[in-house]
Symmetry: C2
Subunit: 363 residues, 2 copies
């Protein structure tokens, strides 16, 4: 039973900025003087419509989204987009190319394969998903309907540090675990999606950034809720949206802007990750990093210890240092430290100090 808040290294749902949680708590019974909780307010009210429009505007500003794109707030997580994307953008007779660099990329590819024809442009599974393929390792089909990649692989702790060139096809990216963590040239992408629960808000709301060209491709024959164009036309209010999630995302976007925007957040994220990777590099036989150096994620640091027993002890002792959520995913095992935007530098320093201490005693 903790009375203080823990240092939260969970991979998602993950840490949220404390000022966001405090504001949500303080106004939970009365949203903006409406006399209603944000949980009770009509999605057709002026107060809520303004909130959605403001959230799209904030998203466009902080990500420097160029004209010709919409930002939408939908339901179903990244996982639902895995099937909606091919339903919307993969016509019969065409092929979509998938670059498989981890578990979620693989799921996206598998679901698309239930809808239409897919081609594996690359798959790093044989190498334990320890690295991101180089441009010359990508083998595209002749004219893919789109090319899909996953910019950060939460489970394996790898991240794309370049934007691949496609054979003139639209680039579609799942950015669930690194959106808002660094500046991005959005114009290189036709479609970006991200479950909110890592860097943007609570589980249950999914951001979609979509170009007008892609909106024009949506087949009119799809059932309405599956059509991105209908969601865009209705400003994410085609049906009742996950209103509380949009509200928290709105607060997180404001927090990110107040904290210097994406350049500043990237700077902090680099410092945070460096604190932990430095310990890995000092004791490579003890802290065995999963990702290859040039593919390392700034969001999820994954490593093994010499034995499962030591790993168990590591997690247990970390708990006494007030750290939680460090258990690695079963596909990799060991330890995973997820250090999204809301994890303060202090938290990474505590983890690095603990790792030094643990090595001194057990290494």
């Amino acid at each position: 039973m903790r009375t203080e808040r823990a240092l939260n290294f969970n991979p998602g749902p993950a840490a949220l900025p404390l000022p966001v949680l405090e504001q949500a708590r303080d106004e939970l019974l009365n949203f903006k003087g409406e006399g209603l909780s944000i949980l009770e307010i009509s999605h057709r009210s002026r107060a809520f419509e303004s909130l959605v429009l403001e959230t799209e505007k904030l998203m466009k500003e902080i990500m420097r989204i160029p004209p010709g794109y919409r930002a939408l707030f939908l339901q179903g997580g990244a996982s639902l987009q895995f099937s909606l994307i091919p339903m919307n953008f993969l016509p019969a007779g065409e092929t979509a190319d998938y670059i498989v660099t981890g578990s979620f990329a693989e799921k996206a590819c598998k679901d698309a394969g239930q809808v239409g024809q897919v081609h594996l442009a690359a798959n790093t599974k044989g190498q334990g998903h320890r690295r991101i393929p180089r441009q010359e390792e990508l083998h595209f089909s002749p004219s893919p309907a789109y090319v899909h990649l996953t910019t950060n692989n939460t489970v394996y702790g790898t991240q794309w540090h370049y934007t691949p060139t496609t054979p003139g096809s639209p680039l579609v990216a799942d950015m669930s675990s690194d959106i808002l963590s660094r500046p991005l040239d959005v114009s290189a992408y036709a479609f970006i999606y991200a479950g909110a629960q890592k860097n943007m808000g609570p589980a249950g709301v999914t951001a979609v950034i979509i170009s007008e060209e892609m909106l024009d491709r949506v087949p009119q024959s799809l059932p309405s809720m599956l059509r991105y164009d209908l969601h865009a036309k209705n400003n994410s209010l085609y049906n009742t949206p996950p209103s509380f999630g949009v509200y928290i995302m709105n607060l997180v976007l404001k927090w990110a802007a107040e904290n210097g925007g994406l350049s500043r957040l990237e700077e902090v994220n680099r410092k945070k990750a460096a604190l932990i990777y430095k310990v890995l590099d000092e004791y490579p036989d003890f802290y065995r990093g999963h990702a290859e150096k040039d593919s390392r994620s700034l969001m999820n640091v994954t490593f093994r210890l010499p034995s499962e027993e030591l790993e168990g002890l590591f997690i247990q002792e970390a708990g006494k240092w007030n750290m939680t959520g460090l258990k690695g995913h079963r596909s990799v095992g060991g330890i995973r430290a997820s250090i999204y935007n809301a994890m303060p530098e202090k938290g990474c320093r505590t983890l690095a100090d603990f790792m030094e201490d643990f090595y001194a005693r057990k290494g």
Copy 2:
């Protein structure tokens, strides 16, 4: 700018029980001594898995769901189920029957028509959706894959007060706006679904009650997120669930149990609705009820006044009595009072008193 909480007559998202909101506020920064907000907790943690399992158990208890059913907590609202239902249960070459009694029933039917063959067993549109068809007015196709109905029509203020007999086909019901409002013979239905945001919780979580027979029908060829059987097999944790919504639903179910369960809630709901319908019946030329008497909803009371000017004035003056959310849907116009479980009897009494007062001055 209200400093006090308003009487919330919104059709959904709608009023939530005050003790639920207060508990959510009080523990927003630290869920069950975990040192994390419910918004930050891993859906793979023991604390959250227990919460989901407990919520399913509470749902089964309060609704007296017989063995052989699962209760799931999904995303996308009732609107997403409009397409998932035919994708899961309407094979090529078969026909699904729809009973159209309002806007949402019509949307459900339209989306199903994009997926497969549908047959209209009845449509009350020609009669302004003022009434629920009688059993003998339902004209089924020879052997429907399923029969779909909407038990309460939020927009028109009508409600089914009997369960129709089908030609031996599974009955599928959208109960978004009257679930938990009265006892129900769940065994008469094969599939029940409901967006939470009226009687159960916030927007963004959808309850699905599904029989094992229906689970067995799900085609293995569907993309994973669209398959009800995968959600059931994974206890609603196939992907990251809308965790905050499930949490609030858990609190609402406990509140409903503490308040006497569904029989007691129905009793109170009947009393609440009677207070308002009594005024309609007293001044039928002034307060012109939309629904026919035997089809009246206990959840949404819809009526017009002699002029749009009076309707505008009614809503404006109701605001001064601390009431909000009374504007009718554009399809019907006028006034709609949504009086779900969380609307206290006092609120309905205030509305009835106001209606008497307004009539005395303007009637």
